[in-house]
Amino acid sequence: MFELENAKTTQGLRRIAIDPVSRVEGHGKVTLLLDEQNRIHQVRLHIVEFRGFEVLIKGRPYWEVPVTVERLCGICPVSHHLAACKAMDVIVGAKQLTPTAEKLRRLMHYGQLVQSNAVHFYHLASPDLLLGFDSEATQRNIVGVAMQYPDIAKQGILLRKYGQEVIQHVSGKRIHGTGAIPGGVNKALTAEARDELKKNLPQLIEWAQGGVALMQRFHEENPAFYNSFGLFESNMMGMVRADGALDIYHGDLRVKDAKGQPIFDRFNYETYAQVLREEVKPWSYMKFPYIAELGPEKGWYKVGPLARLQTCDFIPSPLAEAARKTMLAIGNGQPVHSTLSYHWARIIEVLHGLEVIQELLDDPDILGKDLTVKGERQEEGIGVIEAPRGVLIHHYKVNEDDQVTMCNLIVSTTHNNQAMNTAIRSVAMQHLDRRVISEGLLNHIECAIRAYDPCLSCATHALGKMPLQVELLDAEGTRLSILSRNSNGEFHTSEMYA
């Protein structure tokens, strides 16, 4: 049992809800239970939206899946598109893509890393970082940033725009394109498109370096706050290539413990079902994954930028690797676990994404015309990728009529479920316990969630497995009864009033 997950008793406790949590993708809420002295007894991040992709995809032809599942998300559709396509590569027997196809997919994916991380860093997180966690709520947004820091706001908007242009050139659209198909890609990149994309890269790299310097300055100016806010230690999981370098498109998964020691130096992601388990809790639609052999209490972990930059041995691009070393130095030889370091890691990844894009655009293979391969048809495929928010797992089974019969998705935000809950409990004890609660203090809770850049829409893709609760209210809003379904599918009714 995790501390502050369940109050010993709810009697006499006051409930505060942050509903909805703002400046995150999707819909979630936080509830706090406090006593008369404002002591915190319970803190939970609830995911209250509900989707059904794992069920609605059943029966559909496998080639349709990469285009259908990317509709899970409008921020990082490329991740779902590519993870599904990697699984479908296995289905069509495409063991090794052509160099051009793989590089075009990487180009699209790194373009997405830039746009998604930029939209989070500049549009969603920078209002807290630049204006203050408890600054005036009506100004604490991208418009407020644009008023006070117009250059930074403009750079953020243009960095995002560039990432989307990269995606558009490969997939046909900025959002929800069709570039990757089972066994390869459907379109070659033209020389004009490549030259267009190369044009502004030096300027964009300079802006990303500015973003990295900004985060470094925040940490250096206020180390006590930045290094302790929402601090907790946990295991970390990320994807690495054969030489241990960070690779967000393909590689093995590595898990390190809180001290940076390997739990799994690497495991083939196709064995994820043996390594990972998911726990269901009755108060959230989002599952809680953990490493099976460590159990739910010790086996949970975090994913995403901060985990990736510490599970890998190095970033394979010079500017970003130098920035990574600077960031890791604040740990004095120990892993960095402070929640706000996620922002620092995220902007370092923007820099890395731009460096990789530059390298890919300079590679002659990127203009190749050999786009698809096929092989012996398989019945089952697993595709894993590092989405901007962390490890994303797609798993499908396909019957001999080419229809999907099974779909399992474990998305990045789901991996971070326990980490986000632990972060907000840490912040609640640090900043809210025994204090008069104000909007600014409540925003501290949201800041802790925001650091993970959660995509709650993606994380609530399941249907039929989640516990459900239906409340019957009278005209005054008084709760009369609750109908609950637990994770085993059993129904219970609780009458509140006779």
Partner: protein
């Protein structure tokens, strides 16, 4: 003048035996339509090509061109009615363009864009329809079927196989497969059949090809359907 008639004030030549829709398309005049296909007998199913001739609403595909007739076609009144019919077609099936591989090549979608259909307007029916994946080369998704009848005609008139048929009446009207099991996989359907190429929507699609044509290169990406009368006249690319 002999062998000409008027559409929206413009003289249109025709060859004897041509219907109003054929003559209009040949002259570069677009009349919205779904169930007309060159080489197949016009059946007036979809009613999208409804025009007004001498005060009467008639289907352009089933009305022979005649010297001297005056046809009202591209008018706000008729286009409003056509948009309404499209909206009814969209809500009575399950048309999810975002995931449909026919998107960009779909005549129903192209007409909706061309006639500026901004919303479905009516409540969706969300009908329960069947999927038939039993054939090794073709995938049938009846969620997208608009019962235009083109596959029925092509299979009967051209392929001489009579694999498809319309069953039921009115709202219950639907396409069935003429095999004891009702499955396409038990028929002698082939992707080289005419019936495999006439579906205006994504109900009959070849397997394992999905999304091979990139966005920007699909039939209706460059030009709206109303500017593609030459293609619609012959259906030859």
């Amino acid at each position: 003048m002999e062998n000409t008639f008027i559409i929206d004030g413009m003289p249109i030549p025709f060859e004897p035996g041509q219907n109003v829709l054929q003559a209009a398309l040949a002259a570069g005049i677009f009349i919205p339509h779904l169930c007309f296909y060159p080489g197949l007998k016009p059946n007036g199913n979809c009613k999208l090509c409804t025009v007004i001739i001498n005060g009467r609403h008639v289907s352009a595909c089933t009305t022979l061109a005649n010297s001297g007739i005056e046809v009202a076609n591209n008018t706000p009144e008729l286009n409003n009615k056509r948009r309404l019919m499209l909206q009814m077609l969209f809500v009575s099936g399950n048309h999810f363009c975002p995931g449909c591989e026919k998107s960009g090549n779909c005549q129903l979608q192209a007409l909706a864009y061309d006639l500026e259909m901004m919303t479905p307007h009516f409540n969706h029916f969300f009908p329960k329809r069947t999927i038939d994946a039993s054939h090794p080369e073709a995938f049938l998704d009846m969620n997208r079927c608009i019962t235009c009848g083109l596959c029925v005609q092509a299979s009967g008139e051209v392929d001489k196989k009579n694999i498809f048929a319309l069953s039921g009446r009115g709202m219950a009207s639907h396409v069935v497969i003429n095999t004891p099991s009702g499955k396409l996989g038990d028929s002698d359907f082939a992707m080289s059949d005419k019936a495999a190429r006439v579906c205006p929507v994504g109900a009959i699609l070849p397997k394992r090809r999905g999304y091979a044509i990139p966005i920007g290169e699909r039939r209706y990406d460059e030009l709206p359907i109303s500017s593609q009368t030459e293609f619609l006249t012959t259906r030859e690319t």
